[in-house]
Amino acid sequence: MQVEGLRVDIPTPMGMLHAVRGVDLALEAGETLCLVGESGCGKSLSALALMGLLPRAARRSLSRFSFAGEDLQRAGERRMGDLRGNRIAMIFQEPMTSLNPSWSIGNQLEEGWLRHRGGSTALARERALHLLERVGITGATSRLGQYPHQLSGGLRQRVMIAMALMCEPALMIADEPTTALDVTVQAQILHLLKELQREFGMGLILITHDLGIVARVADRVAVMYAGEIVEQGPVARLFSHPSHPYTRGLLDCIPVPGRLAPGERLGTIPGVVSPPIGALHGCQFRNRCSEAEDACATRAFELRELSGGQRLRCRLAAT
């Protein structure tokens, strides 16, 4: 998949919110890209824009959008509907947005398959059972007749993953798939996703703000701030050579055993994000940045190539 110049604008009473501002993403088969950044930076809206599922008021524009050799830039709702839940699947941040409370688990799992692949219900059921077992649900047969509210959070999340996998998608977008889960369940689910990815060669875009997950799951990472990618690169490189002041700040904020003595002060990023509303100029991080200089207030920086496949949007890269 290749996306260039993705923008999402939403009108608000305070002016136009530029929620996503020129995001480029590229993903190869079998690869995992993690999108990180603090709450409100535009991760979910980027994902929803690619799925063609933006809120009504939002406006999307992009200069390029191709998927498996097909140009989707001007694809209509009909074509996107064919791809959704079929070739491209999404696990939503809010579990209940994708589960219908009044449908049984079995019906929901089978529905996508029957719509996209047709064939007999028996075949769809067989596939549903197979996947429920794969996501580690014991007694899968008895689960088919249950309803979402009868399942625990962990089980519901597994059902959503099974549902997203029904048609063996080439691309999966998972928006905070494990945030609400216990660490043990989280590890189990991420382990499973990686396993399935190896098997099917599925591409995975994983949205999270947990840097531990990023380190363990990603091949490449894109760090977003106020609607833009401010730094991206291979995961090992990003953790060993974080270059954007925001990325460095984030990594200093998390307690890492061994790096700090117990109870020692953690790093902080002063201030808060100002939402990208109205006419914007300069680097949006500048009011929180310890490296900021006059140029940061006026110049718009491009994402510049550093060594090792890393790219940085900051005056520090713009010599």
């Binding site: 043990t184 953790f239 984030l250």
Partner: protein, 322 residues
Amino acid sequence: MSETLLELVEVHRRFTVSAGLFRGSRTLHAVNGVSLQLRRGEVLGLVGESGCGKSTLGRMLLGLLAVSSGEIRLEGRPLAATSTRDLARRVQPIFQDPYSSLNPRKTVGAIVGLPLAVHGIEADAGAQRKRVQETMERVGLPARFFHSYPNQLSGGQRQRVAVARALVMRPEIIICDEPTSALDVSVQSQILNLLEDMRREFDLTYLLISHNLAVVEHIATRVAVMYLGRIVEEADTAALFRAPRHPYTRALLASVLTPEPGLGVPDTHLGVSYPNPVDPPPGCTFHPRCGEAMPVCRERAPTALADARGRVECHLYANGVK
């Protein structure tokens, strides 16, 4: 060993839950015989999976929920015999969600001052206001927020309001129930630093309930691990993280994804058969998911082994296997 401030002795808490239409009601044993001590000056981390009873335990310590049986003692005196005012002066909460735990229709000044007003601590309005402003300043809330409403503040500022509200009573003990789970990491670190500063400045004792084991390892001095209503292991933080003993503790620590690229996602080897809390498994309640379960684990609940390293409740240790 330092002095015990709060003590739970064989505490149980049961809830009656409906088992579904026409099936009557059943008993859920949320806290199932917990004996635990909170010692002056320590930060006791309480960890365990969702629904294991952590918040129920915290609410009982705050006097917000009665025990079904057993006893809680505050410096040796039964909590049941302590007035709510005295309890509020000594034990205060900080809850998870700064969005829902603050009244949206009250100003920051009123929210922080509420405990004083409710318990009639500073009768004089001027003195009350002064104390609120001092406390706000201490937690890094500028005085201009005094007349602001919660929705005008950022998540981090709201959690500072919650910290100020707890501190305004000048308590000795703070029960922190997931104090940073709803926050971004950049805000989480500010609040954790603040909690640590306040603890030093005011000689506070914390019970820290958290899902985030990196946070617990960083600020707790001792850790208690809970599983299905019981404390299954207790040890000093360094010892627990270096050499966890209970199989559940080991699985829990193995699941922590530290920010180290290249290590991949571990296989926890934990079964997926989540226990049903209204119908817990017999014997050791962890046995259906335990990789080391022995025949005895299905039959008898293990007795605790207490030694120099702490306390562990598992047949592997009780029988001298390990």
